[in-house]
């Protein structure tokens, strides 16, 4: 008897781990089917019920996130990505997604296919991708493998984005021991579509053919979805990593966008996690119908592949197109023009089921709702790790004062988290597409939107990704809220109004009470901030089980924010200080020692991650953001820069370095603890430069918004002089420019 239809009535532990199912879930499958599943069916259940596809641990929590708003066209889960209305009959389509586990074992291909996957989510909806961002987190640089992973990941991202011709305009790169065995690679893509031509991921029309388009199906990436849903990614799982072909994806992209305008496509779905299984089940379920697939018709890269392998392969650059049966030859003609073969592998059927055949033999038949709605959902009991309460008690006054504040600042500027990322982004094409108005290296990147004829619309998008995971670790609710607030603040610093967000929740094993607590609390914090800032969630992705040898990463809910600059409003630069400009801290001033809690300074210079971070005041945050955008619209500001990692000292130093100008401190400033004032971290703070003739009006406006502010100093000369730091800007610049390059040198 062929192995794939062998009935499995009592699976071994190895079979369960391979499919990432628990024994009780297996029993549930038997109960649903009224019989034991066969090998193919078990694999399908495993993939569809995996956390990666089924969100069984996170879905009940994700419902707490706000997802409605006047601009929302598609919210979470309804299509491959979220979409907002940006006016001018255009939709902005965007999503962020993780490719952590694959990148941890095979960094180049893992990161490259992460980019490929998120691009497909965008153009599947009929949107032309206009920008990519990558949020990257690596482990300690004391470990040699970290350098290998870093260069592999950056190389893979550049390879895919450069080759397909979509600009990589931003993101993050940071390093912390917590990620040594579990690096994070989150890729975000933004696309633009004419609102009335978007393509849905629904199957419909009984008898309409299913075309499998693009790459042949191979053995790569089998169990990718389940692989992503277990802990301890190891090199033995390299076969679960896919290999990308950006050239082929470019052809798919152009073919799909050409087809978008014909109206011959009924539905379109990319093949990502769990390949053909998930794409066919999801399109059928969303369309309220079923699909019948003949695996014998799927073109293969190699001989001897079983039905199980064909159904679960995650070979990249493949699409499932549901086509109007009257136009199948026309559609195949367009694919052929782009050098793509498209094979009819099945049809839409009336019964709401996934039926898999191999020629005339039926291999599997499962009602689609068993694989979707009936996925078991787990609401667990969370419990805060008792160690956190202890960390909150940490006494910062015991931390010895540094000998030289100037030396401390230089060390911080050279820290790879703060140092210039130019050596990374100059290997990415960040200009292709003729839309990049603010290139990487500022708080947010800015892209202009053009209409279908190519004419600028007067609307620009500000985009940013963010999360300070130390803050989430020490206080998940507050940290989750801070991540949303900071990504929004980044857009605000570019002069934009934040309008919606996508998120990638990178956490450890949710079956552990302390991890579940982090997940639930961080989501609650994100929800509170998203409501307060009126930035609903349109899409997202969950990556759990990021842990090795029982130790979870810091909870890392990465936020991808999109803001709008409308009515031809030009972006606000991050650095444009001129001699005589006043430099102000907009937001609260902190010089108490407790503000060092969770700071990069303590983590980097003292190897201490402790204390209770400063709590965010969401009402103040909202007012601050409103003030900055209003002040920019009134042309009152020279520049604005978010004050976050590295505290006030690093933010001010960056402004000086970028503007190539010195800073002289305002004499009236008195401080309790200079080290806290310099390197303490707190939310709701933005540095602005204001020219002398605008200062009175700008400060009047700040007072009207009830924003606390402090004049920090005045721009001029070539020396940086602030709270005991005395340095030539040129010296700071050198350290800042070389920090990352030196740190990752192999």
């Amino acid at each position: 008897m062929r192995q794939d239809i062998q009935i499995i009535s009592d699976p071994t532990d190895a079979q369960l781990r391979e499919t990432a199912l628990s024994r009780s879930e297996f029993q549930l499958i038997k109960d649903l089917l009224g019989r034991a599943p066969n090998h193919v069916e078990l694999g399908i259940f495993g993939a569809m019920w995996s956390e990666h596809c089924g969100y069984k641990n996170s879905k009940p929590l994700l419902k707490r996130l706000p997802s409605t708003g006047a601009r929302i066209l598609f919210g979470p889960g309804s299509e491959n990505a979220g979409a907002i209305d940006a006016g001018n009959d255009l939709a902005v389509v965007f999503k962020i997604e993780s490719h952590n586990h694959p990148s941890a074992v095979e960094p180049f291909e893992g990161a490259a296919t992460g980019v490929g996957g998120i691009l497909r989510d965008i153009f599947t909806m009929g949107a032309r991708p206009i920008a990519l961002l990558d949020s990257l987190r690596f482990g300690s640089l004391d470990v040699n493998r970290t350098r290998y992973l870093f260069h592999g990941v950056v190389g893979g991202i550049g390879h895919y984005g450069n080759c397909i011709g979509v600009p990589t305009v931003g993101g993050e790169v940071s390093f912390d021991d917590t990620y040594t065995a579990n690096i994070l690679v989150n890729a975000m893509c933004i696309g633009v579509a004419p609102k009335d031509k978007m393509i849905s991921a629904k199957a419909s029309g009984i008898g309409n053919p299913l075309l499998l388009v693009g790459a042949d199906t191979g053995r790569d990436g089998i169990h990718g979805a389940t692989f992503a849903s277990v802990t301890d990614p190891g090199s033995t799982q390299r076969s679960a990593v896919q290999v990308g072909n950006p050239f082929l994806e470019k052809l798919l992209l152009e073919a799909c966008l050409e087809l978008r305008d014909t109206g011959w496509l009924v539905g379109l779905q990319d093949l990502g996690a769990a390949g053909l299984t998930s794409s066919s089940v999801e399109t059928a379920h969303k369309g309220g119908c079923g699909v019948e697939i003949d695996v014998a018709k799927a073109p293969r890269r190699e001989s001897g592949m079983s039905a199980y392998e064909v159904m679960l392969s995650e070979s990249q650059e493949r699409m499932l197109a549901i086509v109007d049966k009257e136009h199948i030859a026309d559609v195949q003609g367009i694919f052929a023009k782009w050098g793509l073969h498209s094979d009819c592998i099945g049809y839409v059927i009336e019964e709401p089921a996934l039926r898999i055949k191999d020629g005339d033999t039926v291999l599997a038949e499962i009602p689609t709702d068993y694989l979707t709605e009936k996925t078991p959902m787990y609401t667990r009991e969370g419990l805060q790790d008792p160690a956190i309460a202890q960390l909150w008690q940490f006494d910062f006054s015991a931390v010895p004062a540094p000998e030289s504040l100037s030396a401390e600042l230089l060390a911080m500027l050279a820290h790879p988290d703060i140092a210039s990322k130019k050596s990374v982004y100059q290997t990415y094409d960040h200009l292709v597409g003729n839309n990049t108005v603010i290139a990487p290296g500022s708080d947010a990147a800015v892209l202009r939107m053009r209409d279908e004829q190519g004419a600028p619309t007067g609307v620009s998008l500000a985009v940013s990704t963010d999360c300070v995971s130390r803050m989430v670790y020490l206080d998940p609710f507050n940290g989750g809220a801070m991540a949303v607030a900071e990504s929004a603040r980044n857009c605000v610093c570019a002069g934009a109004t934040p309008v919606a967000l996508t998120n990638c929740l990178n956490f450890g094993n949710p079956e552990k009470p302390e991890v579940y607590y982090q997940l639930a609390s961080a989501i609650d914090g994100m929800a509170a901030a998203a409501k307060a800032l009126q930035t609903p969630v349109v899409s997202g992705n969950v990556s759990l089980y990021n842990e090795s040898q029982g130790s979870a990463i810091y909870p890392t809910p990465v936020i991808g924010m999109v803001g709008l600059l409308e009515h031809n409003l030009r972006p606000l630069p991050s650095s444009n200080l001129q001699t005589g400009d006043g430099i102000y801290l907009m937001g609260p001033w902190y010089d108490q020692i407790a503000s060092l809690a969770g700071s990069l300074y303590m983590a980097a210079q003292k190897q201490i991650v402790a204390g209770r971070p400063v709590q965010i005041d969401l009402a103040l945050e909202a007012r601050l953001q409103k003030f900055i955008t209003e002040a920019h619209a009134a042309a009152l500001l020279q520049c604005a820069h978010d004050c976050s990692d590295g505290g006030l000292a690093c933010a001010l130093a960056e402004m000086a370095i970028w503007s190539d100008i010195g800073v002289t401190q305002e004499k009236s400033i008195q401080v309790d603890s200079p080290i806290s004032a310099l390197f303490g971290e707190a939310p709701s703070r933005i540095l602005v430069g204001i020219s002398p003739e605008k200062q009175a009006e700008a400060l009047r406006m700040a007072a009207a918004y009830d924003i606390p502010f402090v004049k920090l100093g005045t721009a001029g000369g070539a020396a940086f002089q602030f709270l005991g730091v005395e340095l030539p800007v040129a010296e700071m610049k050198l350290r800042w420019e070389n920090g990352l390059v030196e740190a990752v040198k192999e």
């Binding site: 550049g158 450069n162 011709g165 050239f247 082929l248 470019k250 982004y425 003729n434």
Partner: protein, 233 residues
Amino acid sequence: MKFGVLVFPGTWSDRDWGHALGYVSGQEVVYLWHNDTDLQNCDGIIVPGGFAHGDYLRTGAIARFSPIMESVRKFAENGGLVLGSCNGFQILTEAGLLPGALLRNACSSFLCEWTYIRVERTDTPFTSQCQKGQVLRIPISHGEGLFFCDDTDLQALEDRGGVVFRYCDANGAVTPEANPNGSKNNIAGVINESGSVMALMPHPERCCEPELGGVDGLLICQSMVHAVAGIHS
């Protein structure tokens, strides 16, 4: 005037050229698919950047066999203007329409950044709107942009004035530090003997509007428009 922008599978600067010559410069632009042979009576041809045919084998090595390239060759032989940029430069050297070859950057990695290039000749249809010695600020974006030829060919190229652009610093000094990719003699762009085919590694189409950070690319677009207008009059 009517410009044709070639599109190979894997080309991605086609739409940017369409925008720079069409929307910004007000010219008629058509896209010419690599499998076609009809140049549709275009007055000028652009061979744009990208990864034509995936750059498999070697950059431009497969693209030169696309049917449209035979038409481009005949067009150039009859004095038609052909401008290549980035991957277009690589394709034109592979096709033998321009001398030299483009090798992997000396730094070995892909580089996307703004560069300065000095205009060496203004008596070409591609640079007539520039001043001799003028420094243009134009971005590059390539992994294989090191212009290479052997010393004899290099001497011949220099002797006949085949170098149109050289990488330089902001003041126009041609220095090793200003050379982003290790090109011989800092060469950023060359022209054929008859003056009808020119290519450069930088991307003029990316800097034709102030909000994109510069407008120096317009000088090259406008030079071509002037040149073909001259042919028509």
